[in-house]
Subunit: 329 residues, 2 copies
């Protein structure tokens, strides 16, 4: 392994000089700068990130913390895009990214979690899908022990940013489109989970829209479950004009129930899963660019690591119509 020492020797300068050049610090003459860069290139020098992490405190090691739902595998698609987007961007920004699942932290106290991350020299954490009622995780946020970026919640502090689309507005957009296309009056809304921030925001959206359009609104919680949405549809859909769902998975459940009931009702979903394309029908849905969101989250975390203030970042969304041909390859 070629180290900084070898580069220094090759260039005929001291180790610290090499370090300065490679990290873009001032106070090095252009002549020696060039010498060092050439030597580094010649020796194919790649800085050892492990050593850098040990010695410096701004080593750029971050963690992606998320839920791994092994039961409902549909969520895999979202998680995967999240991970991929984050890894990609982290690589670009020369940050080390490790992936951690909630299940690994299960049963740990806040102190233990902090030490767990510290032991890995983690200085920043991106959290996706933090439950609004997870006491330990929210404690962790409040300690300020790490720079954090929270996806899909609305909370920011000095060292904590949040990021995500405007769920309320997105729900309004997709539902309005569907309702106007079908001239529907009575809305059946299948909401997500009660302790989910996006779920709550989407609910607010549909409430606002129903009022604006003077539609009757009937709400039940489907807990983001396909099965529950299916059952709710059997029970309540017949006497409503349109089924608006807080997630694609629930929309699929609703749609399949409608088919079995042999009645037609327009349905719209939320997320833009590929899975939608396999469910047999077309429908409007909100497309979230998950890879884009996690990519933006990494950038936001970098902003915090460089001393930036925590803030709220709102990302754009779009309304699409999922079709079979969109997804085959």
């Amino acid at each position: 392994m070629v180290s900084i020492k070898d580069v220094a020797k090759q260039a005929g300068v001291a180790i610290s000089t090499v370090s300065k050049v490679l990290n873009g610090y001032p106070g090095v003459s252009d002549a020696t700068k060039k010498k060092v860069q050439e030597a580094a290139k010649e020796l194919h020098f790649v800085p050892n990130s492990i050593a850098a992490a040990l010695s410096s405190k701004q080593a750029g090691r971050i963690a992606l913390l998320m839920n791994l739902n092994t039961r409902t595998k549909a969520i895999d698609e979202i998680s995967m895009q999240y991970i991929a987007g984050a890894i990609q961007k982290a690589q670009e920004m020369r940050l080390d990214l490790i992936t951690v699942f909630f299940s690994m932290l299960k049963g740990k106290t806040v102190g233990e979690i902090i030490r767990y991350f510290q032991a890995q020299s983690i200085e920043g954490i991106i959290v996706y899908g933090i439950p609004t009622n997870d006491k330990v995780l929210w404690e962790l946020v409040e300690t300020g022990a790490f720079k954090m970026v929270l996806a899909d919640v609305s909370f920011h502090a000095a060292s904590v940013s949040c990021i995500g689309i405007n769920h309320r507005q997105a729900q309004i957009d997709v539902a309005r489109k569907t309702i106007l296309e079908n001239k529907s009056g009575k809305i059946f809304y299948i909401a997500g989970k009660k302790n989910s921030y996006p779920g709550a925001e989407r609910l607010k959206g549909i409430e606002e829209l129903a009022e604006e359009l003077s539609c009757k609104l009937f709400v039940r919680y489907g807990d983001f479950s396909e099965l529950k949405a299916r059952n709710l549809t059997f029970r309540y859909a017949r006497s409503r004009d349109v089924i608006v769902c807080g997630s694609d998975l629930m929309a699929i459940g609703a749609m399949r129930a409608l088919i079995e009931m042999d009645i037609f009702r327009p349905v719209c979903g939320f997320d833009g899963l590929v899975l939608m394309g396999y469910a047999g029908k077309q429908m409007n849905t909100v497309q979230q660019n998950f890879a884009g969101i996690s990519s933006a989250a990494v950038e936001e975390l970098q902003h915090l690591l460089q001393g930036g203030e925590g803030r709220e970042v709102v990302l754009p969304h779009s309304i699409i119509r999922m079709k079979y041909l969109d997804i085959i390859a």
Copy 2:
């Protein structure tokens, strides 16, 4: 951050003694061992894996290298299970696991790739889905620079193991079941990619089976693409009795084509994707436990890291019938 030094001070012993105790080295009296362990517990000491990685050469940092197919998102499901299984097991075995995608290595020479991993103190690599024609990656394998576990290929050397199910046998099993259930004579086999090892093995399997059952076999390459399988089905399915596909995604394409053609032919797939459940019909398929495979791969890598010989590990598979009710939650 509480370091090994603090523990030493607290226990009233030397740093190295603490290190020995915590790493289970011999040559420490039970009395001091107990003292050290108590001190560590009291201070909530968590060893810094970064520092350990720097100092020692057997630090247990490994990489999971895989393809990220951003076009055909169906693969997401498999990738996700892979990642999850590996991360989980790595955590259990106290190994640091980083995820790397092929795309990040694109255009790099073997030397650059080696340095890339060395810079991260990586000592072992698990590769999933290495193309049989990827020169650079195979060069990397041959250099022996890292301990490696290759999933779904058949190659092993001193420091390289391979792992996976018996694709040939699995293809035989699922196809035989489907054929016997339907008393089919003429088989249409939609194969995977030509330079894919699992694809080739599965093809061998169906050839063997066709001979054994004295069935006529007609083969075309679908390249693991849903669309291609769909088109091939339109073209060739009418005059055969059963469609055997080298992957679930292709089976879905075939099935949808059959529905549009309004003819019935038994179809069987390979992989056990959840996606299958959404495709509208039931069918036999091979269920691979992807999380289990990657988990086993981590264990095998650990075996190599501890000086074990490279070998071939064959994992079990099972034949299942995918149903809608199996997947909703």
